[in-house]
Symmetry: C2
Subunit: 258 residues, 2 copies
């Protein structure tokens, strides 16, 4: 991405990250976040991100408009749009803020999983191509793209995952990884189903230093749906570091067509 | 609220909904949603809402600017700000869209709870005053505002709740109810702790007709934190109709000072 003005960026989609229609949503979310983190006005690391997928992003150039609408002593609030040909394709809000040492506790636990190195790396499907950028080791519920072609009573997917080629974690990497899961409706149905994320929210629980310190080890990712109906379902997911540290909790609402 | 222009509204805070600082966040969220639903350009009922609390809202007038930035055949995407004296106090995005009959399933279950009528109504505290607008029957983990003045190993709160005076459910009511829970850190600590919501997301699972059909019966609401640390925690919550129908799933990131 190239800065074209204060808060204005020009970018271009990347063919290796193509999804069914347009780019992998995790990369769109990371691109929006990058516009904030690269902006000289950005005052603190990200706390939360919400991205709404308003329309398909076509292969080609796009512009991002990023506005810090309120900067406080401890938090900064951004509003963003990603547009193509003057049509808004993505809206987003980002909240940045400094973490301080406080009492800490994690109430939920990582899912049961054998060590990453003992789980076979899945052979990525030919389509969608974005999956070739991730090394996935499925522990549970991989769905039809990972050789699980049958209905399941539960939509849970758990996998060890990292970028390939491997690279250390940062805020952009965990943002994209927060959208790594194939649509839950496919896991339930055991077959391909048309589906696309409507809205994605990521809460960041780890700061830049622990993310960098995690290095390029695989992350333990788990997701499940809560309710399907009326053409939509929601998904809640967690990303855990190799040592059991919570990295992100993330939620999305997804359109599906059965 | 009064419409002052296309997408422009003038409102005023309501003293009975005051919180520690400014209004109860659930009412701010409902107010933002109302600006969308009252707009003649609104094409469909709400699917999801994210509200970021950028700064305190002072008692007095405020303006809302609501823009439908993308309208598709099936979804409509809005961006909003709520401002006082030209300073943005709240940002929000809303996605609207029509639900269609599809395969439906709910993977999670309502929390165990006795029938609402068998649970005693809690005596609302003197402060914050907004709680006097809700009839709360605590099943588990009411925290320091409901006579539970001790530390807890788990932040879960479950309660039956409805507006008082009672009124039928609608999108605005379930939005406000999605923020009904006192901060999870208070439940864990068993005492008052300074805390305020940074970002709130609501996914709507029930349409207008089933909400109206629910009438004014109490809703079963349950919330828990997932991770506390660095001065922030996240909360995931579910609202269930009296018959066990999922109404909303809702998530928030909250600042706290210990």
């Amino acid at each position: 991405m190239t800065a074209t003005s204060e808060g204005g960026f020009l970018g271009h989609t990347s063919a290796p990250y193509s999804n069914m229609v347009g780019p992998f949503g995790g990369v769109t979310a990371a691109t929006v976040l990058r516009a904030v983190l690269d902006d000289p006005r950005c005052s603190a690391p990200p706390l939360s991100l919400t991205v709404n997928f308003a329309g398909p992003v076509a292969e080609g150039p796009f512009t991002i408009d990023a506005r810090p609408v309120r900067t406080n002593r401890s938090t900064q609030h951004w509003m963003l749009t990603l547009s193509q040909d003057d049509s808004v394709a993505t809206t987003a809000t980002v909240v940045c803020g400094a973490r301080r040492p406080t009492w800490s506790d994690t109430e939920i636990s990582p899912p049961a999983a054998p060590p990453a190195e003992s789980v076979e790396v899945a052979d990525p499907p030919d389509f969608p191509v974005w999956m070739r950028n991730y090394e996935m080791r499925f522990v549970e519920g991989g769905g039809p793209l990972s050789g699980q072609p049958r209905e399941q009573p539960d939509s849970t997917t758990t996998l060890w995952v990292r970028d390939t080629p491997a690279r250390p974690l940062d805020f952009l990497a965990v943002t994209a990884l927060s959208d790594i899961f194939i649509p839950r409706v496919m896991v339930r149905a055991g077959r391909m189903v048309a589906a696309s994320t409507v809205s994605l929210t990521v809460y960041f629980h780890a700061d830049a230093a622990p993310l960098a310190g995690h290095g390029d080890r695989p992350v333990l990712a788990t997701a499940r749906a809560q309710h399907f109906g009326g053409g939509f379902f929601d998904q809640s997911a967690h990303l855990w570091g190799a040592d059991g540290t919570p990295l992100t909790t993330t939620h999305q609402l997804v359109y599906f067509k059965d």
